[in-house]
């Protein structure tokens, strides 16, 4: 995770503990569960990336937050539900712990976010965010723990999960990589 201040971390944790109806409704044929752990997890970088996209590409007339504008922008661009875009930002309660609910469209979502960030790498907000991050590889900036969990979920030997893990493995674009 990027080097955020304590204050920023507190804001995120407050956000993470908020009840969101979409988190409860993220089940069915579009999702699978993986990465079970005993503790809470919030993917701060992913949320910030969506906010940046919302700020730069979102509906200027909308009164929603940049984060929500970013969610709407990506979901509209891919023709998928907002729930699928949002759910990657945190682990949700399962049993006596927490797990990721991963949409099968994760690779498409990540590719779209990366493309949008790459187009605006020179923008002040984007470049300062990218500099804060621990990795220069976009996949590692956006979904490092989700990717680990998806790789581990290959144990189930289900084709849809194997395909998603392979698709994500191919996303090795780095910040500043223009090829």
């Amino acid at each position: 995770m990027a080097g955020y201040t304590d204050n920023e971390q507190n804001v995120i944790l407050a956000e993470a503990s908020k009840l969101d109806f979409d988190d409860i409704m993220a089940f069915g044929p579009h999702y699978f569960g993986c990465g079970w752990m005993k503790y809470k997890y919030y993917n701060l970088n992913y949320a910030v990336a969506l906010s940046l996209i919302g700020r730069l590409y979102g509906d200027k007339e909308s009164k929603n937050s940049d984060y929500h504008k970013g969610v709407v922008y990506i979901s509209d661009a891919l023709g998928i539900s907002k729930r699928q875009v949002k759910i990657l930002r945190k682990k949700v309660k399962h049993g006596n712990g927490y797990w990721f609910k991963i949409p099968y469209t994760t690779a498409a979502i990540i590719k779209k976010i990366i493309n949008k960030l790459r187009e605006t790498e020179q923008e002040e907000y984007v470049s300062s965010f990218l500099k804060k991050c621990n990795s220069t590889v976009y996949r590692e900036i956006l979904i490092p723990d989700q990717f680990e969990a998806i790789k581990a979920a290959r144990k189930g030997v289900r084709q849809k999960v194997l395909d998603l893990a392979d698709e994500l493995k191919d996303i090795t674009i780095k910040v500043g990589d223009n090829s």
Partner: protein, 248 residues
């Protein structure tokens, strides 16, 4: 080249272990499937018995043709229910494996991962070491390519396993519990994997045209860069700190 076919070489031992393991897994999964089937048959039988006990009296006064239809109906119901129960059992089994929760609640699953570290991840590094030596001695280009690609394959297989252990250190790593992986083994594994990765990066300039090879090495770089040395309780520590302690 003749030495490459030494029956006790890493590759042959690895192949032996691999086929043995694969066959055992096949047997295990077939036993598990049979478990599911048995559950399906058992449930379907119970439903049939329930129906017979409820409506059996009605048959005493009905025509033979209706009796035959009744029995046929019970047989069809039996197969439908056993099929549905099998599918549900299989679904639950797969989802539990995918969830990552199994290792927290089933001791055998946790032990299986520790055994995989001992027998696959660590062996993988030794195989890589052996192939790196052979790579530099091989004079035929296709033999060198073979060794290079095999190093990528075995290191990837090994790091995939270790990556899971590293990200669940609370579950697998401890210097206090004898059944878990000792922290000095974890640190040594990281050292070893870094050295092999350095070798791949040094030699990869010859394979830059192959995007698949490039991507696989990039993924290895990403994975290995995430790892840091751990202390006695499995917490990440500064790499320099351990190096300094070793030099003392």
């Amino acid at each position: 080249m003749s030495n490459d076919f030494d029956p006790n070489s890493h590759k042959n031992l690895e192949l032996f272990r691999y086929y043995l393991n694969r066959d055992l897994q096949k047997i295990e999964s077939s036993i598990q499937d049979n478990h599911g089937e048995l559950l399906g048959y058992f449930t379907a039988s119970l439903v049939d018995i329930f129906i017979v006990s409820l409506f059996g009296d009605n048959l005493k006064c009905t025509e033979n043709i209706l009796k035959i239809m009744y029995i046929a109906g019970l047989i069809i119901l039996f197969f439908i229910i056993s099929c549905v129960v099998n599918k549900i059992a299989r679904f639950r089994r797969i989802r539990r494996k995918e969830s990552g929760r199994e290792e927290y609640i089933v001791d055998e699953a946790k032990q299986e991962m520790i055994d995989s570290f001992d027998n696959i991840a660590c062996d993988g590094l030794l195989i890589c070491e052996s192939y790196m030596g052979k790579y530099s001695l091989a004079d035929k280009p296709y033999v060198r390519d073979f060794y290079f690609f095999e190093v990528i394959h075995h290191l990837t297989k090994s790091t995939d396993l270790f990556g899971e252990i590293y990200s669940h250190r609370d579950l697998y790593v401890s210097s206090k519990k004898a059944e878990l992986i000792d922290t000095y083994r974890v640190n040594n594994y990281i050292d070893f994997a870094r050295k092999i990765n350095e070798f791949l990066n040094k030699e990869m300039s010859k394979y830059m045209a192959d995007t698949e090879v490039k991507k696989d090495i990039e993924n290895l770089n990403i994975e290995i860069a995430k790892w840091h040395y751990v202390n006695e309780s499995g917490r990440e520590i500064d790499d320099d700190k351990l190096n300094r302690a070793r030099l003392k």
